[in-house]
């Protein structure tokens, strides 16, 4: 019961950001898809293929219809991670409300669990559901002759987990007790390194393993710091 009450409180606090990210992604995505509807399509793309002519290999390479929204998903996901990380872990420092959070008869573990669970739910609601919707929408035969591949769909989910990594990096930086000029902000460069390694992978499984390692390393430090530090 207490857990659910806390969860509602956390979700209520980040609700404006959830709505903002969801509406922004939905609006930009639909605008892009409408533009794609005016695209002359494959007949135009392959119009240069004439008998007896060489075909440049680049003419055969195609970007998925989901590709038009994936850049936005990537950018919004990182921005969303930073925003809710700041809202959940930094704002209580600015407003000095940590003491209020801890005064209830709830242990720190539950408080942290609700914060992180609310973060995960926020990503699923704001970006996950809309990305899945775009995938289903663009898989319809009347939209495109070749539907987007499962690989492209999963790549979108990797961008969402990258956003979650940015969220954890923000949380760790906020909670860290070290000074600014030492290791306080090390969560961010570490997230950037994980991002760089992920973007050099060819296999989805390798990319996913890289992100999971990054999440485990950041999460273990967040849990330890949150349970031990003084607020």
């Amino acid at each position: 019961m207490k857990f659910m009450t806390l969860m509602r409180k956390e979700l209520r606090e980040i609700l404006p950001w959830i709505l903002f990210a969801a509406i922004a992604f939905l609006a930009i995505g639909f605008f892009n898809i409408t533009l794609l509807g005016h695209n002359p399509g494959y007949n135009w793309q392959y119009s240069g293929f004439e008998p007896g002519l060489d075909v440049d290999m680049h003419q055969l390479l195609s970007t998925s219809v989901l590709g038009i929204n994936s850049v936005w998903l990537f950018l919004i996901s990182i921005a969303f991670g930073l925003a809710i990380g700041i809202r959940q872990f930094w704002v209580p420092f600015f407003k000095k409300t940590w003491a209020f959070e801890f005064h209830r008869s709830i242990n720190r573990r539950t408080i942290l669990t609700t914060k992180l669970s609310a973060g995960i739910i926020a990503f699923l609601l704001a970006l996950g559901t809309i990305w899945t919707f775009f995938y289903i929408y663009s898989s319809r035969p009347d939209f495109s002759m070749v539907p987007p591949s499962i690989r492209n769909f999963l790549e979108g989910w990797i961008f969402i987990t990258i956003g979650f990594l940015a969220y954890l990096a923000t949380a760790l930086t906020a909670l860290s007790r070290t000074h600014w000029y030492t290791t306080k902000a090390f969560g961010f460069p570490f997230a950037i390194i994980i991002l760089t390694i992920t973007f050099s992978q060819w296999k989805l499984s390798q990319a996913l393993i890289t992100i999971i390692i990054g999440i485990v390393l950041l999460l273990s430090q967040i849990i330890y710091t949150f349970l031990n530090r003084e607020f």
Binding site: P51, D54, T183, P189, L204, L217
Partner: protein
Amino acid sequence: MTLKNITKYIAKPSKIFTTAVIILFAIFIVQLFTIQMHNMMHAKAWEKASKQTAKEPKKELTEKEKKLEIMTSSKKEFLSDGTIFYTKQKTKKKDLKIYDADVNMVWKGRKKNNPYDFILWPEKILDSRRYNNLHHYKTISPELSRSIQVPVRTKEKIPQIWRYNWDKGYFKGFAPDGKILGYLGSAGFTQKRSNATPLGTLEGYRAWCPEDSYSPTLLWLTKRKVYQINFEK
């Protein structure tokens, strides 16, 4: 053992690891920057030194040394029966020299007039930049990985499109109504996905439209095999 204790044993090593990774990464970037700066600063000095070396009189090589020099500096082309040819090309002039297995020159001239073109791979397949591009296209990026799609087309319409699956290594065919036409792998065409077999690791490909067709035919080079794929048939 409480969560507090468990995380203590994981959090501290992970913090050390994270810090070490960041420091190593920073050193790597500084190193790259330093080397680049060093190269830029010394480029002129090296150019001057190499010009000076070129002016110095060269030592006359013996016949054996000349052959050895050709063998080491040439590209080796093998025929299926094991015969070796040495080829040497001046990149700017497009002049080609071909030597046999005993390093005797068998032909010299403009590359386009080469009568021994059967010993060379098509340039488009061997271009290393294109290999890298292929890997680049399947790398995860914000624009998503790209796929190879081959249309089967007439002058007016496109009745089929075949998409290559990077992970599975075979083609999947789509009709205009979105229906799946079948799969094309190393064992040929099949309608069941379970029967589709991978073509092998892709190394490069070349495409052209035959004289009587608007649909591209592919020369598909994998690590072990070369396929000629015509999607119309």
